[in-house]
């Protein structure tokens, strides 16, 4: 894959095939941790960090461990273990060596293991047969798409906090409807021709 096509793939992963609005990967943190723009950005950054690293690591595990041993069907088990271990490791590493970053991202890290965006990026990488560089770029781009979605959405929600909707719509339903409207806005990207 040339540099141009990698850029194209990343662009498409961020906007056109946005993990949240087109594929629904990672909806739980998207709906749960988007109340304030600051925390949303923190979550987005933590996810970006983990997904980029896990993109490379799961690729290596698949190519160098599972494929030679003909155990491709164990990929779900292997990937989720790798991701859980990686999150733990990143948490310890940040706490010891980059405490400021740990303070910013620390509380979000344990939540990431069960963020399906991370696992689906790893599985999609295998499904699409990406190379190592592509795997990392795909992880990064998908995570940036997630970060974009969650930060924009947090902005919308912080405005919505002052609204006075009917009793039944308070809280979660209104959040979902706002997400629907945002998804509609994002769907315009699918009309882009390259």
């Amino acid at each position: 894959m040339s540099f141009g096509s990698i850029l194209l793939m990343m662009f498409s992963a961020i906007l056109v095939e946005n993990f949240i609005f087109a594929k629904f990967y990672g909806c739980c943190p998207f709906l749960g941790v988007s109340e304030h723009p600051d925390t949303a950005l923190g979550m987005g950054m933590a996810v970006t960090f983990v997904m980029t690293v896990s993109g490379g690591v799961t690729w290596a595990v698949y190519e160098f461990l599972l494929v030679p041993a003909k155990l491709e069907y164990l990929k779900t088990v292997a990937f989720i273990l790798v991701i859980a271990a990686l999150v733990q490791f990143i948490e310890m590493f940040l706490r010891r060596f980059i405490p400021t970053l740990y303070q910013a991202l620390g509380i979000y890290l344990p939540l990431i293991t069960t963020n399906c965006a991370v696992l689906s990026a790893a599985l999609l990488t295998v499904q699409n047969g990406y190379s190592f560089i592509e795997a990392i770029c795909f992880g990064l781009a998908s995570a940036l798409g997630f970060t974009l979605a969650i930060t924009v959405f947090a902005g919308v929600r912080s405005r919505m906090a002052h609204a006075n909707p009917p009793e039944a719509f308070k809280g979660f339903p209104l959040t979902l409807i706002a997400a629907g409207l945002l998804a509609m806005a994002f769907s315009c990207f699918s009309g882009i021709q390259f």
Binding site: Y73, T76, F172, S187
Partner: protein, 229 residues
């Protein structure tokens, strides 16, 4: 038996994992374009939930608490892979329709939540029943959402034509935006019903308190009357 029915009602209605607990949003939004897919997803997740609840409950004294989440995830992902392999062999078209969302059952928060909140603290049999109840609740919610989306978006239900051809199909409902909005309205309806029930319960309580208070007052008045007499 009575306990079983109560647990079932709890899982499907009062404490529905999707509509009330608001868990497992990814598969709920993604696999509800068609009722058939929603059904398949619900039953696949139910199978995993029952097995994982059973085994986590059986192993609850064996699993060290420090690494319990890792152990749960391994057990759950094992069952998910087994279900995926079985579907691939015996329900091939469903396997293709659900795609990546079968392996993603691993990170479905409902399953981990039940493992942590219920199966790790209870005996095997109630854990299995809890798995059945929560799984059916999940399936019920998915089928409900998918029914709305399939009927309005494609004019069919489970593949059968239900709306006349002349009726315009609202493709909006099968698109991602439609998923969010449909779910939003359904949860609003559930909240409305629950608010109504809560309000009625509160009024009943108030009424009984008032009756009690009046009764006491009457008693006191009578006592006073007796005293004066």
């Amino acid at each position: 038996m009575k306990g079983f029915l109560k647990q079932l009602k709890e899982g499907i209605l009062d404490n529905n994992p999707v509509l009330v607990q608001l868990l497992g949003m990814c598969p709920t939004l993604a696999t509800t374009t068609l009722v058939e897919n929603a059904f398949g997803m619900g039953l696949a997740a139910t199978a995993v939930l029952i097995c994982s609840n059973l085994f986590i409950s059986l192993l609850r004294k064996f699993i060290p608490s420090q690494v319990r989440i890792a152990a749960y995830i391994v057990i759950i992902s094992g069952f998910v892979t087994a279900v995926e392999l079985l579907m691939r062999a015996y329900f091939y078209s469903l396997y293709q329709a659900l795609g990546l969302f079968i392996p993603l059952i691993v990170v479905n928060c409902i399953i981990l939540a039940r493992a942590e909140a219920y199966a790790s603290k209870n005996k095997p049999l109630p854990s299995v029943i809890d798995g059945v109840a929560m799984g059916l609740g999940f399936t019920f919610a998915l089928v409900l959402i998918a029914s709305v989306r399939e009927i309005l978006g494609s004019g069919t239900w489970l593949g059968f034509q239900v709306l006349p051809d002349a009726y315009p199909k609202m493709t909006f409902f099968v698109l991602p935006a439609g998923a969010f909005i449909t779910l939003g309205f359904i949860i609003a309806a559930v909240q409305k019903i629950r608010n109504g029930a809560a309000e009625r319960a509160r009024l009943r309580e108030l009424a009984s308190l008032r009756a009690e208070f009046l009764a006491q007052k009457n008693e006191k008045a009578e006592e006073k009357e007796e005293m004066t007499v």
